[in-house]
Symmetry: C2
Subunit: 209 residues, 2 copies
């Protein structure tokens, strides 16, 4: 984005800080704001009335949240770690994007990227077995973090096992057992706040393309 665009955005932006576990918004709330994540990790989820939960995804620095054009948010967003965000009033943001082509392009890029991720995840949810799902998650999460911090064998997992399970359409027990097995097999190593990938080869081999 150009200097001017950034300057214009700065004027509209409000900074928001959330502590761990704090909600940013709830599904169904009036969608007044859009956000970009500056630091930390958020969980995006949809809840069914009977308690079932689908974690749509996780937002990390660089991601937009709430850019759908609905009146209300379609999912809830909660901080998994301390989080800082830039908040924009949707009305301002929309009208700025009308005058600044480059901002709209950036938004559209973000949306299609999200869409690609969502479609990839459909394959995981629809056609992958349990172990493949967990492997897909670990590999992609590592990849995503790598794009921010640089690639590392150590993969931080700020989300709970329950969050992973609800993201992958599994139960917490299945996720736990799968990762326990990998630890016994020296494919991964348990480190505080995450895991270390010891054998990328074997992990990747779990996933047929």
């Amino acid at each position: 984005m150009s200097e001017d665009d950034i300057a214009d955005l700065e004027r509209l932006a409000a900074h928001v800080e959330l502590p761990t576990r704090a909600p940013l918004f709830h599904a169904g709330d009036l969608a007044r704001f859009v956000y970009t994540v500056t630091s930390g990790t958020l969980r995006l989820q949809r809840d069914l009335s009977d308690g079932r939960r689908q974690v749509i995804g996780f937002a990390i620095p660089g991601d937009f949240i709430g850019l759908s054009l609905d009146e209300t948010y379609r999912f809830s967003a909660d901080a998994l770690t301390a989080v800082s965000l830039c908040r924009f009033d949707r009305k301002d943001f929309t009208s700025l994007s009308h005058s600044r082509q480059s901002l709209l392009e950036r938004l559209h890029l973000a949306a299609t990227h999200e869409l690609t991720i969502a479609q990839d995840h459909m394959v995981v949810l629809g056609r992958r077995r349990a172990e493949e799902r967990v492997a897909a998650f670990v590999l992609r999460w590592r990849e995503r973090l790598g794009r921010i911090n640089g690639r590392s064998a150590t993969v931080g997992l700020p989300m709970s096992r329950q969050d992973m399970a609800d993201h992958l359409g599994l139960t917490i027990e299945t996720v736990s057992r799968t990762m326990a097995r990998w630890m016994r097999d020296r494919i991964i190593l348990d480190v505080p706040g995450g895991i270390r990938v010891l054998d990328q080869q074997r992990l990747a081999a779990i996933l047929p393309d």
Copy 2:
């Protein structure tokens, strides 16, 4: 869109007609074109190397296909019925969208709409039981068709049972049994090329929000 925009688009557009079963493009092909559907239904899918298949979705009139910004298509597209489309060269389309704000807005709208659908479908794939998945599909498909043709109790199903199964992460047998049960229970009626919804109430009641 404005008259001018439409005129500009017309100059770039080529018409494409596909017979039933014809492929439009294959996952991995160089993504030279974007398309909008004029008539008919297409199936969008991803294949795994071992034969498993995920049907990402179905495209009907008004939908864009291939608007992701990747070099190559991320899924294959095939005609389920005879199909007509408008084809645009991606390069032309992109540069036009740079000069015509309104086109980019339209694209962005389409992308976020697709994203919403994808996220809804994640909930279905991740957290719905078999009967709920089929119910969600029938209800949403009916809704989508209704927005084009006007609402009707008769719902055309141009896709095969296998396509439905691969869309819902189920087997053909499960889809078949589920719908057979609904027919016995007079919730739906078998009509050639589709079904007729006899009891919308009970069908909707299968799905907790």
